[in-house]
């Protein structure tokens, strides 16, 4: 069984993972991958980006589990088809007592960096060296908010954590046909620091981790996210008041610096994916903790697409001595992007599933309540389970709420994505790059409507009825119906190519 371990480092890593989850929910395929194991690496476990992503991953995992619990639904197909697990779920032997979470357990560092390195227990000489290598701010900053754009701090802190049991277990469980992928930003703190360290520790035969040969041989890729946004800078008064902030003016400077360093010092990867963009309007400035919950962004979704791209590369073509470098091209340079900017393959493999998911979400949220008498609804005893406050159907409901937020956020910041119009109620106009022709006055030319979809749903279930309609079965009943129905309308009504 080929697996993909994704290390999503820092806030950017979490946000890319959020987009990836949406893609997987839509049914975007991960080639040659039987199981995805995302690992979020961030000492700032209260980071808004991280917690949101973790919740989303959990929800996805539950939905996938509910859909496939009885083995009736083929794995890897349709909505929520990609299997996804935490490290702990791999640990069937139950060794080491891993926490069942997607977040790499750092044990909750709440010290300052100075306390963390035990500054006061070092010699006068080493204290002098530390004073030379780190600013007083860095030394004094509390580590529970991440590394705040100080990867040099991160490199020290994270290195001391690679020997944690999660990492050992991961190394122990690694197979030669597994792959590893890293997601990090280059301009922040945690990602920039953690990523090269994780690579070093993955590859270093002397790192003390198990299976050095396997670690040396598994293919690894990485997404390096360059700046694509900037943050509002505090006013003179706020600065004078000593308010905490992230200096995004330094993003580019840091990026260039880090890139120079990577150019000489980053080894051990088969493929690298660079992604960056000129920044648009500044975003609100939150230096970590729960407030750091940045709005989803097009580049995160595009970044997530590096993963299927990497998995699609045959192992035979990966060469660590000549790593493959990648960049993402849009068809045109416009402030707002839709699916038309993507090449045909991606429109087929990514846009189509997303459109299907969007129809699903849209219909589920706004039209399902009208279907109580529809055959697919009654045959599936859907009414018994909706609305749901818990269980799989509640998860689905919540997932679509998340989805809508995600989609809405994508449309806010430049470069904006509005390939799917989040507030568009007319199914004909929901896909930006393909409007379904409809005539207001010609009943035969209504295009795509809720009724169309209902009919397709009824068609999908046919004459069958759901036996033993417990919540997971009702979920599968619905999902499978939407699998077919949305595929049909995209194919026949939208006629998306």
């Amino acid at each position: 069984m080929a697996r993909l371990f994704i290390f999503a480092v820092g806030g950017t890593g979490a946000r890319v993972l959020r987009s990836l989850t949406m893609l997987l929910a839509a049914g975007v395929k991960l080639p040659n991958c039987d199981l995805v194991v995302p690992v979020l690496v961030d000492p700032d476990t209260q980071n808004g980006d991280v917690t949101r992503t973790v919740e989303l991953l959990k929800r996805y995992a539950r939905l996938h589990q509910a859909l496939h619990q009885d083995g009736q639904r083929p794995v890897g197909e349709g909505f929520f088809g990609q299997p996804l697990a935490t490290l702990a779920q791999l640990n069937t032997a139950g060794a080491e007592g891993l926490r069942d979470s997607f977040v790499y357990d750092f044990g909750g560092i709440s010290q300052s960096f100075k306390e963390f390195v035990k500054y006061n227990e070092t010699s006068v000489e080493t204290q002098g060296l530390l004073d030379l290598l780190f600013t007083p701010d860095s030394l004094g900053a509390s580590l529970d908010v991440g590394f705040r754009g100080s990867p040099n701090v991160g490199s020290v802190v994270l290195n001391s954590l690679v020997q944690a049991k999660e990492m050992r277990f991961l190394a122990q469980t690694l197979n030669p046909d597994d792959r590893v992928f890293f997601i990090s930003s280059i301009f922040g703190g945690t990602g920039a620091a953690g990523f090269p360290l994780l690579v070093k520790n993955l590859r270093d035969p002397d790192s003390g981790l198990p299976q050095p040969q396997v670690r040396a041989s598994v293919p690894a890729g990485a997404l390096v996210v360059l700046p694509y946004f900037k943050l509002q800078q505090p006013s003179a008064e706020e600065k004078a008041a000593g308010q905490d902030f992230i200096d995004s003016n330094a993003f580019i400077t840091k990026t260039k610096t880090a890139l120079s360093y990577y150019a000489d010092h980053l080894q051990g990867l088969e493929a690298l994916y660079y992604l960056g963009d000129q920044a648009g309007q500044p975003l609100p400035n939150h230096p970590g903790r729960a407030e750091q919950r940045n709005q989803a962004h097009l580049l995160e979704m595009l970044g997530a697409l590096a993963i299927p791209h990497f998995l699609a590369q045959p192992a035979s073509q990966l060469d660590r001595t000549a790593p493959a470098y990648h960049e993402f091209g849009l068809q045109r340079d416009e402030p707002t992007t839709d699916f038309s900017q993507l090449p045909p393959a991606l429109r087929r493999e990514v846009a189509r599933p997303l459109i299907q998911l969007h129809y699903f979400a849209r219909y589920f949220r706004y039209h399902l309540g009208d279907d109580k008498n529809a055959p697919f609804y009654s045959a599936g005893k859907v009414g018994k389970h909706l609305p749901a406050s818990s269980g799989p159907l509640a998860d689905l409901t919540d997932f679509f709420t998340d989805y809508e937020s995600w989609l809405r956020e994508l449309g806010v910041n430049e470069r904006r994505f509005n390939g799917l119009r989040v507030d568009e109620a007319d199914f004909n106009k929901m896909v930006a790059d393909k409007t379904i022709a409809a005539s207001a006055w010609n009943p035969l030319q209504k295009g795509l409507t809720a009724s169309t979809i209902r009919e397709e749903l009824n068609k999908a279930v046919g004459k069958t009825t759901l036996d033993n309609p417990d919540a997971p079965r009702v979920l599968r009943w619905l999902v499978e119906a939407f699998d077919q129905a949305t595929a049909s309308v995209v194919e026949n009504k939208l006629q998306y190519q």
């Binding site: 060296l129 290195n159 003016n249 580019i252 963009d277």
Partner: protein, 1151 residues
Amino acid sequence: MAKILRLHRTGPSTHEGWGRTGKIGKNEIEGPGGILDPEGARAERVAVALPSPFARLHLVETALAFVASPAGAAQPDSVHHRLVGQFWDVWELVFNYFQRRGPGQRLELRPWRRDTELARLRENPATRSLADVLTLYLNDSRFANLRELELLYFPDANGGAPQLVGGTSPLTLFFPAPVPRALPVQRPQGGGFYLDGRYVGLAQREQAFQDFVYQSFVADATLARLAPAVRDVLDPSILTKWNLAGTAQLADYPALTDRTGNQVEVAGVVVRVRPDEGVIRSSDFTIAPTRRPLPAGALPLVLRPGLQAPGKKYFNNTLFADTGSAVPAADPRPLADRTLPGPELPYPYLTLNDLLEETLLAVPYEVDNSRFETGQLSVAPGYQPSVWPLLPVTARYFDYFTSADLAAQLSLSLEPECVRVKLRVPVSSGGTIDYERAYYPNPRTSGLGRLLVTNVAISVFPFVKILNAPQYNDFYKVMLIDANNIDVSLLTKNIELRFGVNSRALSEAGTEQSATAYRRTAKTGTDEGSTYYEVRGTHFDYLEIISPAPAAGRALVVPKWREVQQGTKEFRFAIDFGTTNTHVAYHDGPNQPPQPLAFGPDDSAVALLKKATDEPERTPYDRLFRGIEDDPARNIQLKRWQLYQQREFVPPLLGTGGSPYQFPIRTATSEAAGFPVEPPRLLANVNVGFGINTEEQTNESYHTNLKWGDPSEMARHRVRAFFREMLLLFKYKAALHGGNLAATQVVWFAPLSFSEFSRGLYQREWDTLFREVFHTSRGTTYLPESSVPYFFLTRRGLVTPGPGENAAFVDIGGGTSDVLFYADQPDPATGLRKHKPVFSSSFRFAGNDLWGDGAADVRGSKDNGLVRFGLDSIAAAPLPPSAAGARRCLDVVLNNPQFGSEEVASLLFNYEKDFQFGERLLHAQHLRVLFYLHFGALVYHLGQVTALRGLAPPRYLCFTGRGSLYLRLLCPGASLRPLEQLASTLLAKVMQVPVPENFKIVLADDPKQTTANGGVLATGLDAQSTAEEPPLVQPIGTGSTDAATELRHLQPADITEDVKKAVIANVEHCLDLLLSDPDLTRLQSSLGIKNPPGLVLRDLRAALGDSFNLSRQRYADTLPRGEAIPETLFFLPLRHALYVLSRELREQALV
């Protein structure tokens, strides 16, 4: 064209979706199409985006590349510029390391040693992870050769914590600290202050620095390999120019060293700096010292205000020119922190106040230039100074010169208005720089010195330095009399002394060498203060007088030590330490006659700062102290130097030169009030009381009656101090006269009555002190007191016993009389006959029983009849004016409640010339019977003992000891015939056998000296016989001839009434003989004795019983339980009775 989502502006741009491109490398980052950083210059904090703990080191490379790039050129205020500016700042600071003036201003380098520090971090589990991550990144190839990083600290001018400014780097040689504060040092060129955040490129910096950097990269291939990022930003055309010229070389740039002196290297690249251009390599003004070794540090230049030195080189090749106007008279900075006037280069220099005081202290007497350095002193013609200058030279002078130099270099000119002082300081160019200052009593303009008079007296003991045996120069005492007590408000301000040797100040706390003070007499409105300094472990080169107001200032006193070489003579000193008197005799070779210890003007052990007056008509002793004119109106007074010298210190002369002191001396100490409660310190709180009989004022500092028997600790301290001072005097005497100190011998005596234990204690004490003072492992020599006269008298031919003739030696001391009886007997071993001691005896019947206040415990009644008679007769007629001094001394003794009749008698005899006490006694017929009885009782007892031992009467009866002086009073003529008749008659009657026809009494000429002299002469004689101790015979005293009963040992309780009766009966028999036997009474007239018949006998008989009881009770009270009474009981009835009789006789005479 697709839109590639990237930041750089180069590379393929045709694909859509994820597509293959190239690595983002240097060109993509900083190349023409590289990443634009429009906001970079607005960064609030320097970005540290490198995922390495050593990010800050890498960052410098990045910043250098950026600044050199076109993008950098477009953004001259970027953070990278700031960083590069700081980078060059740090390098230039290091380059200019020596430009900082003083060592305290220079960068401090502290190494961070890789192996050591990582190992340390690894040892502690808490810091192991830090070690791991540092190791992980230090394994990077570019750190591979890095053994240590130097941390650079800039010192804080105000003594605060130094600022960390940067470190060395294996990537760019240096890197700056994060967020550094601007330093208070201006860039030599380029404007602003170091680390002020401004970007100043290399090209804007000082040419010397630019040249150095370019040469470094051309000439040092290791540097070019180490720091390519730096080399890449250098101007290629300049590099080429240096390369082509081929002149690049680094030899002129010294390697920087850390504080341990190790060359600073960065991964094999030597860190070089600008040569120390502030180093003074040569100067015409460098001091030319003579002292070795010199103090550490550079030799200072010698400058002074207004110095003109045309053509002279100030330093290196710089002329002095008119620098003189910039030289201050005083520079408050420590020498090492000074900068040269004018260029302010860090270099030490001396100026006027460093060597010459601003105040000249003068003393109201002429300084003895034979013993103390006075410089070349000249007095203006016709001017008669009343005060004389001390040396206004600072102690610092002795850092460079010796006292011999001072004699040549210092001149003082005494003028009516002022004292002009010139100190000629030799400098390296061959000449001298002359420091001059005129000192006026009331200087009216600034720049002039002030002349103040301080009333200070100083004496030094011993005044000698043994050149070839410095271990003996280990104990010096300096007496300081502070008479600045006219102004009562300044009484709490005392003059202090500081001592220096070999350009080092002696501290109080030194373990090997020290100088400590003891303030003995507090300064009051009436008393001068006296302080005694003790210099231990060394001599001293100078002492510094630190005088407070009213004569605030400092001055030096530089002794011209009497320098001697240790000789080869073997001195032998013999000390007869008696309870009452002490005598010392010595000689300096076996065949030399003994002489009493004396110190004359030529070998005085003491040096007074004051010069003796030139008054030939006066004795040398008087001249020492004369010539100080008290003049309180002018704040001059120093009238009691002599008094303190005599009472608390050491008299300068002894036994000669008109000294009031000579051996034998009264055994006494003089003690400070604190002595009983302080640790004893000789010549501080206790000293030999030479002055006891010259005190003209009542003084309670004296203590007499020194003896071991006294069990109190203070008594032992007292005796020990007395011994020690004696030994110091011996040492000085021997040293000064060619003695070999280690071979010096000291002989001492103890009476036969001493127990073995007591004598052991003495031996231990003498040996300990002797070894300490003379640095020898040998011991002292003990001789029995009584055996000594034999040697002395036989050696002198005064006693020549023939075959079968015996000789008795009686040594009468103050409290004890010892008898040693020599008989001609066959030696049991050889069979040959020889004279040897056959018995001894010791009893407490001696001088004090004539002159003292009886056997009662209470002292101080001073009513002994003989003494009262003397005092009465002195009072009866006016004394000559010449006796006024003696009279004052007498009054002092009389007023001292501690003193008794014997002290008065001692003083009276001491001033015989003035009081004629002896003369008066010759005519006191009514009292002379006391001498008669004393002598008679002794002879009577001697006869009984001799008979008891079965021996024949002696042919010689010899008397020694100070107590025997009265025999001269009893028999004043040249012939001792009457005395001999008395003795032989008495002996014949007691022993019932004829006394030899040629019976002879021998009185030593100087009875007290005899013992000591004998001790000296005992050298080389038959040591065994000398020390031989015959049996001690102590009969009970009943006169019985039954040895078994008579020679019993009695404890106080054994003295029954029968014993008492028997003893008293024997004494009465003796008295009857002496006072009633016609053969004897007949002799009384020839001895000048006249008493009413029967009177004496009656009075005595009445007193015998009480006298016996008194002494018996005393033994009962004081003798430890179980001990026998250590003497015969025969004298017990007489001891107090004689005293009672003396009072009776005197009173009856008055009636």
